[in-house]
Subunit: 199 residues, 2 copies
């Protein structure tokens, strides 16, 4: 996005990203989970966050529901609101990454264009992790009872039911969370992240 | 702000703030600089960030100009845009504070109501630091040449010239940066922050 404001200038970055990485003994970047509601994004982000925290990494997770109480409280679920929601998440993830942290984001983020924007905004590494549990599996799980509501027409624009999900074309990692349980998924993620964020 | 979205729920906070503080060996929170353009907000935030980083604190600074290239690129300088800009900064600062960091924000943030919102959004400590250099001093300095432009009418809604600045009524700390030089201001800040963020 080209800034609407004029009369602005970028402040000098006093502390280099490299220095922040050295201090934390790991690289920073964004681990962007994407997948249908019920595919396990929040669960895996939360488990991975705990695991990395226990290994003394600087780690933070951004969750869709959490942000909608704060930064994105002015947004709903219409396509343009979703796009703006994901744009902001991408920019916030970029700020965290620039601060030296590993950021885990758990958002359906159904549109390719929006995920691409987040990738472009990112400072440091960006890793798109596609949780590919299929729709029927997610409908069966329905951990929040949202699919049932959507099928009764009580929620509009619900991804998979009344709004599209555009699967990633070349994600850094795909986990079929319809087949893999949390423990197995976490093991694969752990190995992936250790490689991706080591100095 | 009451969330526009329904069908959301807060995710469980897996890692407590207390655990994050223990890990970093310091508390987290927001150090909110406010004052006129030219009062020294970015300079002091930048110097303080370096000083805290060198002491092994987890620290990050958010600068007006930086954010307007990213998260707030859709906003201008009209009163409603400024309010939304500061709302987002407050929410992002809150996210950083919740992650265990000390967040320094350097925004004119001219309206009391907006600063109060940021205070309410904050997780952990919130410290409003008023840089009280007076208007004439800031006009004389005019580090970005913006006052000259505003006085020629080339910038509208410029704080101090064509838009109001509402001074804090009970800031946690006031520094008259019209009288104190950077070194002296920094010394006072340093002592203040060491107390405010120790465990």
């Amino acid at each position: 996005m080209i800034p609407k404001s004029t009369n602005i200038r970028r402040a000098r970055q006093e502390i280099s990203l490299h220095k922040r990485w050295e201090k934390n003994s790991h690289a920073s970047g964004v681990i962007w989970f994407t997948g249908l509601s019920g595919s396990g994004k929040s669960t895996l982000a939360s488990e991975l966050e705990q695991l990395l925290f226990d290994r003394n990494k600087q780690v933070v997770s951004l969750d869709g529901d959490d942000l909608r109480y704060g930064l994105c409280a002015d947004l709903g679920f219409l396509p343009e609101d979703r796009a703006e929601n994901i744009r902001r998440v991408g920019e916030v993830a970029s700020l965290f990454s620039a601060s030296g942290a590993i950021v885990l984001t758990a958002f359906i983020s159904p549109y390719r264009a929006d995920r691409l924007k987040a990738r472009k905004a990112a400072v440091g590494n960006f890793h798109e992790i596609y949780l590919s549990a299929d729709l029927n599996t997610c409908i069966d799980r329905d951990p929040k009872g949202l699919y049932a509501k959507a099928q009764r027409g009580e929620i509009s624009h619900f991804t998979g039911i009344s709004a599209p999900y555009e699967a990633p074309e070349s994600p850094e990692l795909t986990l079929d969370t319809g087949l893999l349980d949390v423990k197995k998924s976490l093991k694969i993620l752990d190995e992936y992240v250790e490689k991706a964020f080591s100095l």
